[in-house]
Subunit: 410 residues, 2 copies
């Protein structure tokens, strides 16, 4: 049993189906050559749903539809997601197809169409093969299950260039009730979420009042999914959803409940683990880059600076090469768009300080190289502007990133 975030949250080896009332399935319907490409997540009872969505002006059809449903009724019973095709830039046909995906799920499961959320990920500008999608939905509906295997199949069904599945599950107690919160995510490329994220589907059986859940989720997304970057490209299909079906039996939590912070910690932990998993598995990545900014003028300033550093191609290439080129780190902080005094900035690579208040500090290159050779590299930027702090996550820029993206469609 692994306790995280103090001793109140337990990390468990499980998938999304560990949440009471949540069933899942992942099938192969033929949109991708071999791997699973269609995922269905189902709640036995209506669940409050909150979400964040891409800020890209170009929004895929399923994003538009799901965003309207989440902001409208705010209650969901199912999420359907295909991979291999983004259903973006397909004009009126894309919208019809996204609606039809939801309708097919509603029919298979006897739900109201408005209770079905739709997502897609994959190539842009290619119409969906709806015959395959409909067959996949029928099969997934038949295979819905509460098993570990069903959860794992569901995670596989949303993957594109991801090399590892990304899921997380925690247990915590609210009002004496055992509660679960679990989720999955896909990432890899076109990852630079902006008030949104790549695909992440989370569920909890903890009962939470929807308004409080909505505010908390936006807040958590801002500190987790919105703080990762693989390549600086904000996708047309980003979406993070959280279902709360209340099946744990607790009285619905509101933001002023003394136990709300415990739920908030569980959610933030789960979201952060998924966000880090996405950054670590960025296209071509060999390392997770964690950038911590302290002493900024505000948390928001710290977030912007941390993101600018994890986004920098030059920083990312230096991390790949194990080159302690801290000038690029300070440079990337400098063009983030936030005013600060460079003479107040100190930089640490792991435990090695390389820059003291804006100036070079003699350091042992061999020790610094050793730090940079680790699979997780922590860069700490300490400023003298105020109390603001934030963390961002990214990855190195490698030959394989170029290779993967020079021929993604072919």
């Amino acid at each position: 049993m692994q306790l995280v975030e103090g001793d109140e949250i337990e990390l468990i080896e499980a998938g999304i189906t560990v949440v009471r009332g949540i069933l899942a399935a992942g099938v192969h319907c033929g949109l991708k050559r071999k791997r699973r490409d269609l995922t269905l997540i189902y709640s036995e009872v209506p669940a409050a749903v909150v979400g964040t969505f891409t800020t890209n002006q170009v929004k895929a059809a399923p994003v538009v539809i799901t965003q309207a449903r989440v902001r409208g009724r705010g209650v969901a019973r199912a999420i359907v997601c295909n991979s291999g095709n983004a259903n973006a830039c397909n004009g009126p046909r894309g919208e019809r197809d996204a609606l039809a995906m939801g309708a097919a799920v509603a029919q298979e499961l006897g739900l109201d169409e408005e209770e079905v959320l739709v997502a897609s990920t994959g190539v842009i500008g290619l119409p969906l093969d709806m015959e395959k999608v409909r067959a996949g939905i029928a099969q997934a509906a038949r295979e819905l299950a509460k098993s570990r295997e069903a959860a794992a199949a569901a995670v596989e069904g949303i993957m594109t260039t991801d090399t590892v599945p990304k899921e997380v599950a925690v247990r915590f107690r609210i009002q004496g009730h055992d509660c679960f919160l679990a989720g999955m995510a896909k990432g890899s490329g076109m990852i630079h979420p902006n008030m949104a994220t790549m695909l992440a589907f989370l569920a909890t059986d903890c009962a939470v009042e929807r308004e409080s859940l909505d505010r908390l989720f936006r807040d958590v997304v801002r500190r987790t999914f919105n703080q990762i970057s693989v390549d600086g490209d904000t996708s047309t299909n980003d979406m993070a959803l959280l279902l709360a079906n209340g099946m744990a039996g607790n009285r619905p939590l509101t933001a002023d409940d003394p136990e709300f912070p415990n739920f908030a910690r569980a959610l933030e932990y789960a979201a952060r683990e998924l966000a880090k998993a996405i950054a670590r598995d960025g296209e071509g990545a060999t390392k997770l880059l964690e950038v911590r900014v302290e002493g900024a003028a505000s948390d928001e300033a710290a977030r912007i600076i941390a993101r600018s550093i994890v986004r920098s191609n030059l920083v990312k290439a230096a991390i790949f090469g194990g080159d302690a080129n801290w000038g690029r780190i300070l440079c990337a902080a400098g063009y983030a768009g936030v005013p600060f005094r460079p003479e107040g900035v100190s930089i640490f690579l792991g435990h090695v300080q390389v820059c003291d208040r804006g100036s070079a500090l003699p350091f042992d290159e061999a020790v610094a190289s050793e730090v940079l050779r680790q699979p997780e590299v922590v860069v700490r930027l300490v400023m003298e502007e105020g109390q603001g702090e934030a963390v961002a996550w990214g990855c190195d820029l490698t030959y394989d990133y170029v290779k993967i993206n020079a021929s993604y469609r072919t």
Copy 2:
């Protein structure tokens, strides 16, 4: 004789020394292992000077000093620039060294210190070896000459990872006088100028009133140097300078002079050629990417969208791979931060239309691939928002970019 921009401007095979009264030198003083690393440009008479500078919060010492001199007196006699060392993040010592570089030039040439402009480019956070710099300045002062060779040596002296020298020279007529405008630039990496540029030094013998020159230069920089991107990283050392020493003998031009547009065209042509040369020679680049945006809400909106596309890692990798992945182009337009209707956007790769009003258009992949295999790839984005238009230049993202930047310092 090659006429450009209508029939009034003649492109000539020459360097900056073609400008009357301008002498130059480039020497090797030992900051780099073998190649020239110190450049001196000298005007026999005082020249009006205007410039734009990096907006990075972290400004190298020479940038701070030169910016103050350009905005202060606005008159210059010499530019000194070393490569191999950026003299950035070196604390008070960096400032002393930058001042000393200027002072050494003033002493060698009998000038006022305030008339000497200082620039540096290279590694960040490494103190300058002033003994070498002083010796280099003395040698350069001795070698100042008006020859084609001296101009070529001066261009070499400012190069870092540039693989080709970048210079331009034009002749035009003002009030019946032959005038020359010529310049040089260096680029390669950390190229994403923001209200500034990488190093570019231009000179003209045309007499131009300083206020008019200043406004024109900012305008031209906005459409040329600020519209290029190699890797999205805005350097700490960006600087573009233009000297106008009036030795052509014309009455000083002001913005309302009927012949001012002719001078403006010559300047814009020269700046654009240097900007494109920087983009084409981006680190590891195999192709020049030109993105034209038409029909945007405003020129500024068009500039922002064009820059977002040339900056996208995913677009750049697709161009490298010859992959006609237009979804990434539309996606990068969408996250530029400018509102527009995707249903009004059409995209052309060279002469091949691949997207019609936001939706896929069947096209011949072989023909599109052929377009993308050329050394210059033109992407055209036609919107239905208004009359705004702009061009931006970048390059492809290649294995060599990663290779160069994984071990720049070592």
